[in-house]
């Protein structure tokens, strides 16, 4: 297995309708102590991006699971930090409902009424939630025209190289560009180039992978023709 195969997570599931994100007042209060913790905010942002479109039964990594007890059925918990910071939430066809963040180490008997509180929640207890608004996150700058050109050039450079061509093929099959990022970071001269920024610069994931596919196709034709030419007999034997 090569490094870029290891570096590329598998393709995500087919995109479903975008869920809106809502939160309880308790969740907003629970989140406050973590607003200055970039790791927690990053995990929460990645989680929400995933949950907005993922199948309800799909797990966000290995620290995300549904409760199994009957009283908690339909609710999920995500260990933002395993065993310490735990998000309790619910997914419906239209919403991701953020219910509470608990610090397991600080839980005490006061939480004995938690299941009753959960049961008492109605849609009116939730309000719209925007992680970027809460955390003061600013959208990173997009790519310049020169950088976009450099990415396009890099795609064709890769497609013209035997080993790197396999990397493009692999990324295309998995619909994931993680393993290609070193190439694009070099091409754009931006060591911190974010994959989402790159995809957004080309419209979206589909339009970017159309470019990948075109680069492969436009260079593959040459190889196929060459092979075809070689296999064709030049002279008839009789």
């Amino acid at each position: 297995m090569r490094f870029w195969e290891i570096a590329s997570p598998p393709a995500k599931a087919v995109v479903q309708p975008n869920r809106s994100v809502v939160a309880t007042r308790r969740f907003l209060k629970d989140l406050k102590p973590f607003l200055g913790n970039p790791e927690v905010i990053k995990t929460l942002r990645d989680f929400l991006a995933f949950r907005k479109t993922a199948k309800p039964t799909e797990q966000f990594g290995k620290k995300d699971a549904p409760f199994t007890n009957d009283k908690m059925r339909g609710f999920w918990h995500l260990h933002i930090v395993f065993g310490t910071i735990i998000l309790i939430y619910q997914v419906t066809p239209a919403e991701v409902r953020l219910i509470a963040i608990i610090n397991h180490k600080l839980l005490d008997v006061k939480n004995k009424n938690f299941p009753n509180w959960l049961e008492s929640l109605t849609t009116e207890d939730f309000q719209p939630f925007d992680i970027d608004e809460i955390s003061g996150h600013e959208e990173p700058e997009g790519l310049s025209q020169d950088q976009k050109q450099a990415v396009r050039d890099e795609l064709y450079s890769m497609a013209s190289n035997t080993e790197e061509r396999q990397m493009l093929d692999f990324a295309l099959k998995r619909q994931n560009i993680t393993g290609l990022m070193p190439n694009f970071r070099f091409a754009t001269d931006d060591d911190k180039l974010d994959p989402n920024v790159l995809l957004a610069a080309f419209g979206n994931q589909d339009s970017f992978f159309k470019l990948v596919s075109d680069a492969l196709q436009n260079t593959r034709m040459r190889e196929q023709r060459r092979l075809l030419d070689r296999s064709r007999p030049r002279h008839r034997l009789i």
Binding site: M1, F3, W4, E5, I6, A7, S8, P9, P10, G61, K62, K63, A65, F67, T68, N69, K71, M72, H77, H79, V81, F82, G83, T84, I86, I102, H104, L107, V109, N111, K112, N113, F114, P115, Q149, R152, D153, Y156, S157, S160, P182, N183, R185, F186, D214, A215, N218, T219, M221, R222, R225, R226, D229
Partner: protein, 125 residues
């Protein structure tokens, strides 16, 4: 020409470079210098990725050996050391497409069962 690749929307400089390579022509000094910088950068990045993966495998092995020895059997699952990093490492390895060995599935199920039970207990379920 039918036998040539189609460089759709590619800059002239890159077309020149790719054609020179394709036809086996010598590269200019600038082209060669950029090719060298590119190769060095990618090689460094690949090493970083490989080191990262090696560290993940090492951690996984340590934690799984301890689980197999029964060292964590009587421990509060939330107090098991390095479990947060272990679960992240397992997710990275699984995402690479590597098959998950049966013993790891068992450990993950054990962790999930014990952590859910502990959390539910703390929540008064």
């Amino acid at each position: 020409m039918m036998s040539q690749p189609i460089y759709d929307g590619v800059s002239e400089a890159t077309v020149n470079l790719l054609e020179a390579k394709r036809l086996g022509l010598p590269l200019t000094e600038d082209q060669q210098a950029k090719q060298n910088r590119r190769a060095t950068y990618l090689s460094e990045q690949r090493k970083v990725a490989a080191d990262h993966m090696l560290a993940a495998f090492t951690l996984i092995e340590q934690v799984e050996t301890a689980f197999a020895s029964g060292a964590y059997d009587d421990m509060d699952i939330f107090d098991v050391p390095k479990l947060d990093a272990y679960l992240d490492a397992v997710a990275v390895v699984e995402a690479s497409g590597a098959p998950m060995p049966p013993h790891r599935k068992m450990i993950l199920l054990d962790i999930q069962r014990r952590s859910s039970a502990l959390l539910e207990q703390k929540l008064g379920v």
